[in-house]
């Protein structure tokens, strides 16, 4: 629990810190990258503009140079062979001063080279060359880049007309060595290790490049990015050249028609940004570690330690150290918790009994429970005995009636036999019909005796504890036999409605007799309570029936007694519940025993009553189907 809390806490804090750091690092990286990007672009565009202007300026100067130099030859008669040679020498001299010219040449209006710093070309005809044609028209002309027909080096040509008055008499031109031009403008510019500046002719041909092998050999139109450059004329583009990604600014110089491009390797440009990012990450990591350590330390100090104190205190208190208090002087929630605990402990100490007492009390309770349990078991065990005792008690109630029921027929037997003997002794003549009549009486009486004693024996017999199929009508008849006379003395008549074709029920005859007996005696008491006038006759109606739907045999026993008040209807089956206050009152167990017996027979017993009109007890017992034979 403690561990998991710590882990949760740490995890939460760590995630929080990492998130914060990542966001800050990301933002820093992006913003610094943007800044660097912006600066680089600015610088690149400045560089391009400067370089382009510089080149244009330089080329204009060369045009000016060549125009100025052409003036020298106005007075010279170029028809003169010596003058031509002298001019060639002058040009050679001039060329040595300005090395970026491959050669300086002078041609007449027919295109014949009259003088040149390169003697080999003198005499050649350049009539067909574009620059010649243009300058012959009086124009100063800058040619496109080309391979020199003489040296095969990349060159471009600037040509000016040779004018006498307004007449063009020839063309003066300088062949500019691109390698030298390259050395002048391109090579000195360093943009890191991978950056460069280059120049593209309107045709797309690269005419200046730090890598000279590219000059005149590369046409940017063969690349997507190149075509884009040629289309846009000005702007930024990023492309990979020889596996190095570059960001390039390009701009066309209006006068020259050349596009000057300056590029820088993005890796190189952003290297400081990346370095910054690494540093940033490193700092973040250190910060996270420091944060986690602080959290651990703070957690231990602020949370774990007071929590430990609290838990220890609570545990000790729980073990019975009721005097235990928690000493925690912090001002935070733990302090409040400790205070609250101490307050609670104090209250508890005042009100709680000691642990020893609790243990003792618990033991006592357990003992009491055991006693209760054994008492309950005893109670269960003696239930059968109780039923038997209740029966014996019933018998004592019956005693008078039973004696009456036996002794009367016994009179019919014994005294009639004695009477016959007397008659034989005294009377000479004996009427045979009279004698037979007497014998019938004797027989009938003896049978009555037999029936009574059998019923009595059957009734007093204790339960065998097994259920067997039996006729409920027979059970009722036996009980009625025993009690009928007693009831008649109380002026109570019994009315029986016992259909002979009733299905049997599974039952214990002794127990069921007890139930019927209890209900009948209960009914007789209810009748007695209603009126003490013996003249008034009471009635107990016993009716049995078969309920086909439920497959139960029902017994209803109704009386004309005082009835049962509504509030007692549910209580009459409780043990010892009795409303009978007469001296010969029942045990208060009769109906509760009846209830328990019927329940054991899986049957149901209930009482109904309407004030003043008597009560009806209804018993239903599961029937044994007629065709099922045991």
């Amino acid at each position: 629990m403690r561990q998991s809390l710590k882990v949760k806490f740490l995890l939460y804090i760590s995630v929080l810190i990492i998130c914060a750091m990542s966001i800050s690092t990301g933002v820093t990286y992006i913003s610094s990258r943007d800044t660097v990007n912006k600066i680089i672009m600015q610088q690149l565009s400045q560089l391009v503009t400067l370089t382009a202007n510089h080149i244009a300026f330089w080329i204009n100067n060369r045009k000016q140079d060549l125009t100025n130099w052409s003036q020298q030859f106005y007075q010279t008669s170029l028809e003169d062979r010596a003058a031509r040679q002298s001019a060639s020498l002058r040009l050679k001299e001039q060329n040595q001063n300005y090395r970026y010219y491959e050669s300086l040449n002078l041609a007449n209006a027919q295109g014949e080279i009259l003088a040149s710093s390169d003697e080999k070309v003198v005499g050649k005809n350049i009539e067909q060359r574009q620059f010649f044609k243009e300058s012959l028209k009086g124009n100063v002309y800058l040619s496109s880049a080309m391979k020199s027909p003489d040296t095969r080096n990349p060159v471009f040509i600037i040509s000016v007309p040779l004018k006498r008055a307004d007449t063009v008499e020839g063309v003066f031109y300088g062949i500019i060595d691109i390698a030298a031009f390259n050395d002048l403008f391109i090579m000195p510019i360093k943009i890191g290790k991978t950056g460069d500046v280059y120049v593209i002719a309107p045709s797309g041909t690269v005419i200046a490049h730090p890598d000279k092998s590219n000059i005149l050999n590369v046409n940017v139109n063969t690349y997507d990015w190149g075509r884009e450059i040629m289309r846009q004329k000005q702007g930024f583009i990023t492309y990979a050249w020889k596996d190095i990604e570059k960001i390039v600014f390009f701009q066309e110089h209006k006068d020259l028609g050349w596009i000057v491009a300056a590029g820088a390797g993005t890796n190189e440009i952003f290297a400081p940004v990346k370095r910054l990012q690494v540093i940033n990450l490193f700092i973040t990591l250190i910060f996270i570690i420091v944060a986690i350590l602080s959290v651990i330390i703070l957690y231990g100090h602020i949370i774990l330690r007071p929590m430990h104190y609290l838990m220890d205190g609570i545990a000790r208190f729980g073990k019975g150290e009721l005097g235990r208090r928690i000493e925690l002087a912090t001002e935070d929630e733990f302090g409040s918790l400790a205070e609250a605990f101490n307050k609670m402990a104090q209250d508890l100490e005042k009100t709680t009994v000691s642990r020893d007492e609790l243990v003792k009390e618990n033991a006592e309770r357990k003992r009491a429970e055991e006693q209760l349990k054994s008492a309950y078991e005893q109670l269960r065990a003696t239930e059968a005995q109780l039923i038997q005792s209740a029966k014996m008690a019933s018998l004592s109630v019956l005693a008078g009636g039973v004696a009456h029921e036996i002794n009367n027929p016994l009179t019919g037997v014994l005294n009639n036999v004695q009477l016959i003997k007397m008659e034989i002794e005294t009377k000479k003549e004996f009427k045979i019909e009279e004698f037979k009549e007497l014998l019938d009486t004797i027989e009938e009486s003896a049978l009555r005796c037999k029936r009574i004693t059998q019923s009595l024996l059957d009734f007093s017999m204790s339960s065998r504890g097994t259920l067997r199929p039996l006729s409920i009508n027979e059970v009722i008849e036996k009980v009625v036999t025993l009690i009928e006379h007693e009831l008649s003395l109380q002026n109570i008549a019994i009315q029986k409605d016992l259909p002979p074709d009733l299905p049997q029920v599974l039952g214990d005859p002794q127990l069921l007799q007890q139930v019927i007996f209890d209900i009948i005696t209960n009914a007789s008491r209810a009748i007695q309570s209603k009126s003490d006038k013996k003249e008034k006759k009471g009635l107990i109606a016993i009716k049995t029936d078969y309920e086909t739907q439920k497959n139960t045999v029902s017994i209803s026993i109704s009386d004309t007694g005082i009835g049962i008040p509504k509030e007692n209807l549910e209580r009459i089956f409780e043990p010892f519940f009795t409303t009978d206050e007469s001296p010969d009152q029942g045990t208060g167990l009769g109906l509760s025993i009846a209830h328990s017996i019927i329940r054991e027979h899986k049957g149901n017993i209930k009482a109904e009553s309407q004030a003043g009109t008597g009560a009806t007890f209804r018993i239903s017992l599961p029937a044994v189907l007629k065709n099922t034979n045991a």
């Binding site: 002794n407 016994l410 009179t411 019919g412 037997v413 009639n416 007397m422 009486t441 009938e444 003395l489």
Partner: protein, 127 residues
């Protein structure tokens, strides 16, 4: 006012027919005229109507019980000899009847010799 030759008259009051029949036969055999009543009401009627020398009353009967019947009868005719009978050995009402002035008490079944003796006594000393 009566003499030996005069026929004695008896009333048997019992709800049990067997008992009534036996006593009727027995008393007839002893030349006693016998009337029977099956309950207290009929007994009272009979005693009000005619004279009896001896009345046999069962102490426990439906309706008016024997003891009450006896008291009533005694009020009507205190000169009759009253014999109380009971089929219940434990019945305390026999003792009660004796206190009330019953002449004899019998338990059923009867001791036939005692019955004979009783008849002789009644004959010997008619009231």
């Amino acid at each position: 006012m009566n003499n030996n030759k005069k026929t004695l008259k008896a009333l048997v009051v019992d709800d049990e027919e067997i008992v009534r029949d036996f006593l009727r036969r027995f008393l007839n055999l002893k030349d006693i005229e016998v009337k029977t009543a099956e309950d207290g009401y009929k007994a009272i009627e009979a005693v009000q109507r005619e004279e009896f020398d001896i009345v046999f009353v069962e102490v426990r009967m439906p309706g008016i019980d024997g003891l009450q019947t006896f008291t009533e009868l005694k009020k009507i005719n205190p000169h009759i000899r009253y014999v109380m009978m009971s089929a219940d050995d434990t019945d305390s009402r026999l003792e009660e009847a004796k206190k009330e002035g019953a002449d004899w008490c019998f338990k059923k079944p009867f001791d036939i010799e005692e019955l004979k003796l009783l008849i002789d006594k009644v004959r010997a000393s008619p009231e």
